[in-house]
């Protein structure tokens, strides 16, 4: 069953607001989970590459509206990543929580790694070692850790068996 487009847009806005407000209260060592990225992963897994691409672009737009990353960097990475992940197919549907967490971790890690290079190219004061220890790895772990709960919520919203 195809998801309601208005529901998708509302969810992206809701997640963008939560990402900029309530998630600040569950930061661990300055790091919070990236629920917009998880939304991209969910739509790529369950609805394929085109939904991954479109939801990725939308999530990137809202993420850039509330951060200082270079223009189009997150839009490009989220939409392109969503498209690539959507190519993997629906076999992911059969995975248990640990499998979903592993895929979420790898995807977050790759996206954050590329984002580091885009930020550094734009003149940010970041070193690869410190970024890996302080942002890329912890953010990927944290995002992966909340993925089963979020996927369960989204599956309930979209009536996915």
């Amino acid at each position: 069953m195809k998801p309601n487009k208005l529901l998708i847009l509302s969810l992206v806005i809701l997640f963008a607001v939560l990402q900029a407000t309530l998630l600040n209260y569950i930061r661990i060592f300055r790091i919070k989970p990236d629920i917009l990225l998880l939304l991209v992963i969910f739509f790529s897994f369950y609805y394929g590459r085109i939904y991954g691409l479109v939801v990725g672009a939308l999530c990137g737009l809202f993420s850039e509206a509330t951060s200082a990353v270079p223009t189009a960097a997150v839009v490009f990475l989220y939409s392109f990543g969503g498209f690539i992940l959507g190519q993997l197919g629906r076999w992911v549907l059969g995975l248990r929580a640990l499998g979903q967490m592993s895929i979420s971790f790898i995807f977050s890690f790759v996206i954050y790694f590329f984002l580091f290079f885009l930020l550094q190219a734009s003149g940010a004061n970041l070193s690869i070692f410190n970024s890996l220890i302080s942002v890329i790895l912890p953010a990927s772990f944290y995002t992966a850790a909340v993925s089963p709960v979020l996927f369960y919520f989204l599956k309930t919203v979209f009536y996915i068996q």
Binding site: R30, A72, F76
Partner: protein, 266 residues
């Protein structure tokens, strides 16, 4: 989504069409970001304000029981500040007299617009505060943000009813600064290290001691002169480097930041 025509294409053509589409969309987005970003920001502004309202009410409720103790503490603080104010008034008058004697121009006072924080950065990389004031309140890109006499950041995007402030601990920030005690000049920059967003100062020579106060130097005319940035908490010794690095504890506590003042007439 109706993509029947697309699915009938050969895989190579599909990839080409998609790559072209992505490239074209990104080019359009970059060139029209001036219009797209305010539109996206205005979409999330109402729920952001609602969230901030709920959160502020909750904070107020939790603080309510401490009000009596806080009131006593503030009364004592007020008495001390009255004494300090009297002393500063005398110093100000003396300063005016001396400036008149030396024929120096009078320093201008700044106009400031108070703004509430309605959100924080959504990414884990940059350090941005989203405030509830924008161009409709006279806020423009590049204006400095302060908290008391302490430098907090700079407006990087101003939309009609909302703006983004890059904090001094943001990895893109670079502030011309000087050490208050020795007048040594350098550059303060934000970075991420050891799970924290911190400030560091790069300087050429001179002795920097732990506890030294760092202030904005006013060079570059982005940040006003004399605002406190923080205090030196560690000095890194590296004989191979041309520059020396000092770690700074910011004067503003960014973890509990709730409001900011934007200087509008620098």
């Amino acid at each position: 989504m109706r993509l029947g025509w697309f699915k009938n294409l050969k895989p190579t053509i599909q990839t080409l069409v998609l790559s072209g589409g992505i490239f074209l969309s990104l080019t359009l987005y970059i060139s029209l970001s001036k219009y797209i970003k305010p539109a996206v920001a205005s979409l999330i502004l109402p729920p952001l304000r609602l969230c901030e309202g709920v959160s502020a009410s909750a904070r107020q409720f939790l603080k309510f029981q401490d009000l009596s103790g806080e009131n006593k503490r503030l009364n004592v603080e007020l008495d001390l500040l009255k004494v300090e104010l009297r002393r500063l008034e005398e110093a100000h008058l003396e300063n005016q007299r001396l400036r008149a004697l030396l024929s120096l121009p009078q320093q201008e006072l700044y106009d400031a617009e108070a703004a509430l924080l309605i959100g924080k950065d959504s990414s884990n990389w940059t350090q941005v505060a989203i405030i509830n004031k924008g161009t409709s309140s006279g806020i423009k890109r590049g204006m400095p943000a302060v908290l008391g006499a302490n430098l907090a950041g700079r407006v990087i995007e101003a939309h009609p009813f909302v703006s983004k402030v890059a904090l001094i601990v943001d990895c893109n920030s670079k502030i011309p600064a000087k050490i208050l005690r020795s007048r040594e000049e350098g550059i303060v920059f934000g970075t991420v290290e050891g799970g924290r967003a911190i400030c560091k100062m790069k300087y050429l020579q001179g002795t920097v001691e732990i506890g030294d106060e760092i202030i904005s130097s006013g060079l570059g005319e982005i940040y006003p002169k004399g605002l406190s940035i923080g205090k030196v908490s560690a000095v890194e010794e590296d004989k191979d480097e041309l520059y020396k690095i000092a770690e700074i504890t910011p004067a503003v506590d960014f973890s509990s930041l709730e409001e900011l003042m934007i200087i509008t007439n620098q």
